[in-house]
């Protein structure tokens, strides 16, 4: 009994530093920020009024509320598109590429991940512009008469995001696929399932944890990202992080930025709750 007690005490000693760090630099800051979101800016002074004024403004002021809608629309589009593009890639690598070359293939598939994140969005701006290689290429082979406007639209933002998250999802789905026993597919074939049926009814459901883990990470990283929409979106609409940075960078309005962050946090928490039963966050 005392031995077990001693053991527990010791184990707790091991966990404590990490817990203290997380509390001091994550939980408490979040609490302070939540408290600050109940204040408001008057002229240049922050008045601690303990009211919901900022939240009321977020949900009633059309331009603020729209940023929530814009962020959700972009994030959901990106998540779905990324899953649709990444799954076949992961599947081809896991099943069609000889095992010996799989590691190489997967490393190649995520190679651009190693470019700097800020530069990646900038590179897409160069690619998608009217003078960029895509438009000039399409005109060159006669598919287009004149360049179409992609840069500085939501499409550009989505393309920039999808590029990054396809790589992320390919990783999570691939690692899920290679853990599946080939016996599943064999059993399905023995029972008379066609290749397509096996894929649709056996393999696909078994990769749900990989899909959901990747999709959740995509959701979190995408909805909180400032750089990509700022560089590629042309300020034609504002996502939540852009609005938050506008409050900070131009107005010095910390209370409003905090309130927007709390709303962002709430959305992410909802997304977590919706996907939680598939997630194995401890085994990413």
């Amino acid at each position: 009994m005392t031995l077990e007690h001693e053991e527990r005490r010791r184990a707790f000693g091991f966990v404590a530093p990490a817990l203290i760090w997380t509390c001091a630099f994550f939980l408490i800051p979040f609490a302070v920020m939540a408290l600050l979101s109940l204040a408001h800016l008057e002229g240049r002074a922050i008045i601690q009024s303990y009211d919901l004024g900022n939240y009321i403004k977020i949900f009633t002021e059309p331009s603020f509320f729209k940023s929530i809608v814009v962020s959700l629309e972009i994030t959901l589009t990106v998540t779905v598109l990324s899953v649709l593009l990444a799954w076949p890639l992961a599947w081809i690598i896991a099943t069609q590429v000889p095992p010996h070359y799989q590691r190489l293939a997967i490393m190649l598939a995520v190679l651009p991940f190693w470019t700097s994140y800020v530069v990646r969005s900038y590179a897409w701006a160069l690619v998608l512009g009217q003078n960029g290689v895509v438009m000039q290429g399409l005109i060159g082979i006669g598919l287009l008469d004149e360049p179409i406007q992609i840069m500085a639209t939501r499409t550009a933002t989505v393309i920039g995001f999808v590029h990054f998250f396809v790589m992320l999802l390919t990783l999570t789905i691939y690692s899920n696929l290679i853990q599946l026993s080939p016996n599943y597919a064999r059993a399905a074939a023995d029972l008379g399932a066609s290749g397509w049926q096996t894929l649709r009814h056996v393999i696909l459901p078994l990769t749900l944890p990989g899909i959901m883990t990747g999709a959740f990470l995509t959701f979190v990283l995408c909805i909180g990202d400032y750089i990509t929409p700022q560089i590629l979106g042309g300020n034609n609409e504002l996502t939540m992080p852009q609005l938050i940075m506008l409050q900070l960078g131009r107005r010095g309005d910390f209370p409003m930025a905090s309130a927007l962050s709390v709303v962002l946090m709430a959305i992410v928490t909802l997304a977590y709750a919706a996907t939680a039963r598939w997630l194995k966050m401890e085994r990413v």
């Binding site: 527990r8 010791r10 184990a11 760090w21 994550f26 900038y122 000039q136 962050s261 401890e282 085994r283």
Partner: protein
């Protein structure tokens, strides 16, 4: 089916590599605008960024923050995983949840929270403040990877060592750590990567001693130039070299 697969593969790889190829190609552009037509090659933009004092300082700052914060995150995560995997503590589910939580939150929120608290405490934005933030985002990652890697055979080895009279520290650093070497390395280098490339925390929490992504961001905002392509290509080249080096030395799987 097979042909369709190949077509898909070619299309998606084109998509994945297009921006990188354009980025690198136009870093050799001769004129000021990194857009077609290509009129290079020249190395002048590389010379310019390598001679750029603030860019090189940012490079050093980024390396410092990445290696230091990843080391702290690794140590904290390793100890926590040790503690939580050996016995079932009361509230251990809650503790695990708390440790993982920062991974499920946007970096912007973590950055803003820290900025608010540091402002209230009168702590200046600095490289150290940024490092603290990077430990927050990497600790869950290290913990998760190491917690998943700890298994029964390891517990048995630890118990045996303890029975033979090894001290607690000896057990942790002479038995557990070596057994977990691949997971420790993976966690460490993943953390280094995330910290190295992190923008928003570094942007909000530094003052003069900025990191590379922040410096690139201000470069991007202060004028269009192939120099941005050049620094992007350099970062890419360095990362890839490190990756290849790690792949052939550390992570090489023993032939079975």
């Amino acid at each position: 089916m097979r042909r369709l697969g190949w077509i898909y593969l070619i299309a998606i790889f084109t998509f994945i590599f297009l921006p990188v190829i354009v980025l690198v190609l136009f870093s050799f552009q001769d004129s000021r605008l990194p857009v077609p037509p290509f009129d290079g090659p020249t190395l002048k933009w590389y010379v310019q960024v390598i001679n750029d004092r603030s860019m090189m300082e940012a490079l050093r700052n980024s390396a410092f923050v990445a290696f230091t914060s990843a080391a702290i995150a690794l140590l904290l995560g390793f100890l926590a995983a040790q503690g939580l995997s050996r016995v079932i503590l009361p509230g251990s589910v809650l503790m695990r949840g708390l440790l993982i939580a920062p991974m499920t939150v946007s970096y912007l929120i973590i950055a803003l929270g820290l900025l608010t608290v540091f402002n209230n405490l009168g702590i200046r934005p600095s490289l150290w403040a940024t490092g603290v933030g990077h430990v927050v985002i990497n600790l869950p990652l290290c913990f998760a990877i190491l917690f998943a890697a700890m298994g029964d055979h390891q517990k048995n080895a630890e118990r045996a060592a303890r029975d033979l009279g090894a001290s607690e520290l000896q057990v942790v650093f002479l038995i557990s750590a070596p057994m977990l070497k691949p997971a420790l390395l993976a966690a460490y280098f993943l953390s280094v990567t995330f910290s190295w490339d992190e923008f928003i925390i570094a942007f909000l929490l530094t003052r003069f001693d900025v990191t590379l992504p922040v410096e690139i961001w201000s470069m991007l905002r202060s004028g269009l130039s192939p120099a941005t392509n050049a620094i992007g290509s350099i970062v890419f080249l360095v990362s890839i070299s490190l990756l290849v080096l790690l792949e052939i030395t550390v992570f090489r799987k023993p032939k079975s």
